[in-house]
Structure formats: C-alpha cells, structure tokens
C-alpha cells in the first residue's frame, strides 16, 4: 500500500460539506483528534471548482490556476499533504497536480499569467507537490490509522445492517492510487470492520455511481433519478439500515432525494446516510448534534438509530 501521512496535513474544506452536511467536517475533526492526526484548516483555501468544472463551466486552465493557488497555501503553511473530505475535490486536485507537473506548457502558461498580473507569489514549480505522495482523501488517512480505531470505540453499531457506497471520484478517476479496490471497492468496509461491525460486503450495483451526474440531477432529473434508483433498490433488497458514504455529492443524492425516488419507484426506502467520519464519530461517542450534525440530514438519523448501546469491555 502507498505511504499515508498522519501529519503536516491541510484538511481541505469542501463547499458541499460546508453548506449541506457541516457535520462531516465536525466529525472528521473529532475522529482525527481521537487518532492523533496532525492537521489544520486554512481560511485562505478556496473551492476546488469541482461542481462548476463538471458542469462544463470551468475549463482545465481555470481549475488548475485555482489549484495552484491552493497548493501554494498548503506549502506555505508547511502542510503539503492535502486531505479532502469530498471525492470530487480529491479527483480535481490530484489531476491538477499531475497536469501541472507533467505538462510544461500548462504550468508555464499559468505562471506567466501570474507573473504578468502581480500574482507571482502563486507560481507553481514542477513537482512542488506529488500526486500520489501529497494528495489524499480522508478515507486514506483513516485507513492508515485503522488499527488504532478500535481503542476509541464507545458504542456497538453491529446490530445494524450496513453497506458502503464508494464515490466514483475517489475510486475510479485516479484508480492507480485507490486503496481497497476499484471494481470491488472495500476501503470503507475494512475501516468499518475496525469499529466492530461487519458490512454486507458486495451487493448488486455496489460499484455504480450515485446518479448525481452533476448537470444530470438538475437538467436531466429523470436520467439522474433512474440511475440512483438502480442502487437504491439494490440497497433496499439487502434491507440496509445505514449506507456509509465518502462524498458529500453522493450523500446529497441519497439522503435528500430518497423520499422522491421512493415515490417514483412506489417503494418505501428506509436507509439513513452517514459519511464514514460520521459513522466512526458516532461509534466513538460523538454527540448527534454537536459532532454528527444530525439536523442537516433529510432522512432522520433517529429513524434508524433509536438508542446507542455501549460496547462490552
């Protein structure tokens, strides 16, 4: 497995986490603190452009120029390890680092624009960051520390039926760096096992997209929701209580639209949707309001989790 850092980390803020599921950020900090991971957040770092990029509004030069600015911020803080809460931020930033290192014309073009416009302090030099050594998703960091998770578990969630949804932009875009499998993704299943729980493992459509499809959800909702229904039906067939996510965009698609897709399918779907950090934070005793952020959820967490039983010591 690739080397995963536990220090010098810039925890990269995500637009969707910030405004849709802020509990994912609080839970990430809660779990990172428990595991002794050295990280900081910056008020200077901005959005990766991902939503606009995959709606075809931002081109690669726009995205990579914004990326160069964020990479400089990370380096100046002495925190060259960017760790993303959102799968799309992960894919976007890793691609920008790859292209900026490899394509001299792109790097020189952006640096020239910076030079000519009083932004020389943002210039990116070849190999300032490395795609595999510096760009991570939160799940990578958790995986690197997974042996220590069990020492912090307070509640036993093993009675619930648990499945995982691995975001495409973590697994499939930079597949050479994906931990735990691409066609049969298991990184979250392995982490959940360290919380004393067993997931259902593989299920039909496990590796499929959430169906968001960026512009599809808004401009082409029938196409989007039909694709989501494939997976939602497969999950209901397995009687899943908790679907665990690693991407806020997938999280929105399942949690926000479960009711609507249930109406379209003529079926009542019951699963609650937790980010992997929310799941671990809950198992570690994080407060549902102050850490998990349950008020942001559309499918109420307490519709499934009615009481928490402590693990037997």
């Amino acid at each position: 497995m690739k080397n995963v850092p536990d220090k010098d980390i810039l925890l990269f803020r995500s637009c969707l986490v910030s405004v849709e599921y802020p509990g994912v950020e609080a839970s990430t900090k809660f779990v990172f603190d428990k595991l002794g991971i050295d990280y900081a957040i910056s008020d200077k770092q901005t959005c990766c452009t991902g939503l606009g990029h995959y709606s075809d509004v931002f081109d690669q030069i726009d995205t990579s120029a914004i990326g160069a600015r964020n990479f400089k911020i990370a380096r100046e803080m002495g925190r060259p390890n960017l760790v993303m809460m959102c799968a799309t931020c992960y894919a976007i930033n890793k691609k920008s680092v790859k292209l900026l290192n490899k394509k001299d014309d792109l790097r020189e073009h952006i640096n020239k624009l910076f030079d000519e416009n009083g932004l020389s302090h943002l210039k990116y030099e070849k190999d300032d960051l490395k795609p595999t050594e510096n760009i991570f998703h939160v799940v990578d960091i958790l995986y690197g520390k997974k042996d220590e998770i069990k020492y912090h578990i307070k509640y036993d969630l093993s009675d619930y039926t648990i499945a995982t949804h691995h975001g495409c932009h973590y697994c499939k875009v930079h597949y050479e760096d994906t931990i735990g499998g691409v066609r049969d993704p298991n990184i979250m299943d392995e982490i959940i096992e360290e919380c004393g729980c067993k997931t259902i493992g593989f299920y039909d459509h496990k590796r499929a997209t959430c169906g968001t499809g960026f512009r599809q959800r808004y401009s082409n909702p029938d196409l989007s929701f039909t694709a989501t229904a494939d997976k939602m039906n497969a999950i209901a067939d397995e009687d899943v209580d908790i679907l665990v996510h690693l991407c806020p965009n997938c999280h929105i698609q399942f949690d926000r639209y479960q009711h609507l897709i249930g109406e379209r399918e003529g079926r009542k779907f019951k699963a609650i949707h937790l980010n992997i950090t929310q799941f671990i934070a809950l198992a570690m005793g994080g407060d549902l309001d102050k850490v998990i952020g349950q008020k942001a959820h559309t499918v109420p967490i307490n519709s499934i989790i009615k009481e928490l039983k402590e693990v037997e010591k």
């Binding site: 405004v19 008020d43 200077k44 452009t49 792109l106 008020k295």
Partner: protein, 204 residues
C-alpha cells in the same frame, strides 16, 4: 467510407486535437481504442439513455465533428466508470469533457451552460462553488425541509463549533476573482450570458 480509412488519413486530425488538449491525461489512449464496448456496457447513461461511449470514440476516430452538436454527449454522468475499466487505458469520460470544451469554444452548447452560470457568479462573490439559486425552487419542491434547513445553516454550524466561517475574506475573494479574470474565464462567462440573454429576448 470509413472502412477504407488509413491511419495517415486526415480524419485522425480530430483525434490529434483531443490528444493535444490540455485536459487529456491519457496521452494517445484514444488511438488505442479497440471498440470492445466495455465502456458502453458499464455506463449508467448508456443504460438509461441513447448515450453511447463506444460510439463517441468511433466517431472521433472517423473524424466526425458533427458529434460536437450531438445532444447525447451532454448525458455523461462524469462517473469515470468507462475510464476505470478501459483495457487499453483510454478515457471516454475525459474525451467527452474535451469534446464539450471544443464545442463551447466554437459557440456550441451555450444554452446548456446558461443555467449553471451561478457556479461562476458564486466564485466572484464568495470564492465558493454554491449550487446555483436558479435550482432552489426545484430543490425545495423535491426535498422536504431543505429550505428551512438552509435558513438555519449558521446556527447548525455554530453548534458544531465550525471555524473559519463560510465567507472568505475580501482579500481572498479579490485574489480568486483576479485569477478567473486573467485566465479568460470571466470574459467567457460574460459572452455566454450575453448571447443567451439576447436569444431569450428575441424569443419573448
């Protein structure tokens, strides 16, 4: 006609344009396509619409530039499933994105981008990629309680003790706005908006 095509024939120019695009990370992957159809068999858009990733590469290799105006290319989910299973290391998902950028450069597809101008606007006002307000009515209709939740977002964030606040400083917003001006992004957005608003006016 395409059956007599040789690799030195001119239709390869279209594929070369894609290979040379800044976004391409697969080098000459597009030329390695063996038309096996693995992409189409795993594609969610192919499963539920007339989108066909295998055919996209076939048409690119045939030099068929009418694909830029084909509405079907806008059905890609950007899930990268095709990209992750391709046995020769090609990426239809990336080719699709490049085709759309070529289309936009040629003034095609502005109407597809118009609804998403909010993603550009939020960058200049707040340096974040917020869901465009134009979609709020739909979201409020489809998601019970979402609007009410959004009204209480600040309180929820406070309860979670999240810092720093959502809004970056003026200095940060200015710097990001400047970057997106010098890359040509701002001019492109203004052009798309002006063109669509002129068309809308003509229609009414």
């Amino acid at each position: 006609m395409s059956s007599h095509q040789k690799i030195t024939d001119s239709p390869i120019d279209f594929a070369v344009e894609i290979i040379n695009d800044v976004k391409n990370s697969k080098e000459e992957g597009v030329l390695k396509c063996v038309q096996c159809g693995m992409c189409t068999s795993t594609c969610p858009a192919a499963r539920h619409s007339d989108y066909n990733p295998r055919e996209i590469i076939e048409r690119v290799l045939d030099g068929d530039e009418t694909i830029l105006k084909d509405d079907n290319i806008w059905n890609c989910f950007y899930c990268y499933t095709c990209h992750s299973v391709c046995p020769v290391g090609n990426s239809v998902c990336e080719v699709n994105q490049i085709l759309k950028q070529i289309a936009i450069e040629n003034g095609i597809g502005y109407e597809k981008l118009y609804e998403y101008m909010g993603f550009a606007d939020s960058y200049f006002t707040a340096a974040i990629g917020a869901i465009p307000e134009i979609f709020f009515t739909d979201i409020d209709r489809d998601v019970p309680g979402w609007w009410d939740f959004r009204q209480h977002l600040d309180e929820i964030r406070q309860e979670l003790e999240l810092d720093p606040p959502l809004m970056p400083s003026e200095e940060v917003i200015d710097e990001v706005s400047k970057i997106l001006t010098i890359t040509g992004f701002k001019a492109k957005i203004e052009k798309i908006r002006a063109s669509q608003e002129a068309e809308n006016e003509e229609r009414s």
